[in-house]
Amino acid sequence: MTYQFDFSSLLPYWQQFAEGLWLTLQLSAISTVLGFVGGALCAIARADGPPWLQRVVGAYVEVIRNTPLLVQVFLVYFGIASLGLMVDANLAAVIALVVNVVAYTCEIMRAGIESVHKAQVEAAECLGLNRRQTYWHVVLRPAIERVYPALVSQYVLLMLASSITSQISAEELTAVANRIQSDTFRAFETYIVVGLLYLALSFVVRWAFWGFGMLVFTRRRKLGTAL
């Protein structure tokens, strides 16, 4: 029993693969940026906000972290539809991914914020820095530097998990693959190609994050050690 590989029948579809790859990259990039900003704000609210806000954010984080991403994607998609609005699948995908990754970012960032010793904040206040300055320079900056590796893992995972949005037919890489394999009846080859494309994308994304980290975290660049 030998399987005859035939990758050549996929060749005519290279442009569709490329478009899917591009959309996956876009979905991930937008979700990462929004997820980081939203997650950071949630972490601040969770760590230092008023008690009611801490509870609200805490509940949100728990709900998201304890339900499947696929279900969240469907809830967003059909939720928008139930409001009688036209649903753009790509937009619904971004919203669902952001809602998801904000929760995870929040937890990671909170750990970073809580790792900053109270004495550091006291020292900054004693130097006359106001609350906002203290928070930015003495709490958030070292916190972000400290949890950066965990954030990178999370955002690579997000990029891979974006394949789930193929279920609401967002036109990203996996959705493209689903279509191509049903056109060509070359499912195995198609998913091998797609798997390799995700792998390559992961490497590129990790490399980009590494470069960005070296650019932003001077101390890491000079000492080569984690904060």
Binding site: G128, N130, R219
Partner: protein, 242 residues
């Protein structure tokens, strides 16, 4: 001589625990006051009250014209006049020595990068660490970190400096280099209040020694007081070789 810091009948409790029980003392401009006493006698708490890191329940504290006990105190204005150095240095680990020092002048006094850097360089020179400007805290010894912390405080040109056991975490040699910096400061006319276990240093540098016991100022006087204590408690304390 004008009074820079004045505590009058200060009471402070943490819950049921009475830590300061009617503390009063005065510090004149240019004076160096050494606060000594057993562990738990309330020395750190007294220092923290002066800098409004703790609120007091009764009494009054005046620092450079600021009514520290007042609820309406502008803490940021107070802290422009008061510098504090802690036992644990508390340098910011993600910033170099120079950046640690530049942070407050740029944030608080809105100085430009260049002006702030000049100040940082100057302060580092004063603590003898010019060549360590670009080092990160973890690359410095404890004594060097503490001197950077002192320089960081100096950069804001405070009118009075508070030191809370700044050499307690250091071995004798490193202690020496930090004490030397403090002695230079004292000689330069800086008003200083220091909590210390370094009796020899207190005797030599302090113009006034405050011995605290059980939340009270038990005995106070010039450095020579340590050679002839009047209360048995201070006699025990000095005799115990601390």
């Amino acid at each position: 001589m004008s009074v820079v810091v004045k505590l009058s009948n200060v009471h402070k409790s943490f819950g049921p625990l009475k830590v300061l029980d009617g503390v009063s003392f005065e510090v004149a401009r240019g004076e160096v006051v050494a606060v000594i006493g057993q562990s738990g006698s309330g020395k750190s708490t007294a220092l923290r009250c002066i800098n409004a890191l703790e609120t007091i329940q009764q009494g009054s504290i005046e620092v450079c014209g600021h009514a520290v006990h007042d609820e309406k105190l502008d803490k940021r204005k107070l802290r422009l006049d008061v510098g504090i150095v802690f036992q644990s240095y508390n340098l910011f680990p993600h910033l170099t020595a120079e950046q640690n020092i530049m942070l407050a002048p740029t944030c608080v006094k809105a100085l430009g990068k260049k002006a702030a850097r000049d100040i940082a360089r100057d302060c580092l020179a004063r603590v003898g660490l010019s060549e360590k400007a670009d080092h990160y805290p973890e690359q410095l010894s404890g004594g060097q970190q503490q001197r950077v912390a002192i320089a960081r405080s100096l950069a804001m040109q405070p009118k009075v400096m508070l030191f809370d056991e700044v050499t307690s975490a250091l071995d004798p040699q490193l202690t020496g280099e930090v004490l030397k910096v403090m002695e230079d400061l004292a000689r330069g006319g800086m008003t200083m209040i220091l909590v210390t276990h370094e009796m020899a240093f207190a005797r030599k540098v302090a113009s006034q020694v405050v011995y605290m016991n059980k939340g009270k100022v038990w005995e106070t006087g010039p450095g020579s007081m340590l050679d002839a204590p009047t209360t048995p408690e201070l006699r025990d304390f000095v005799g115990s070789g601390l």
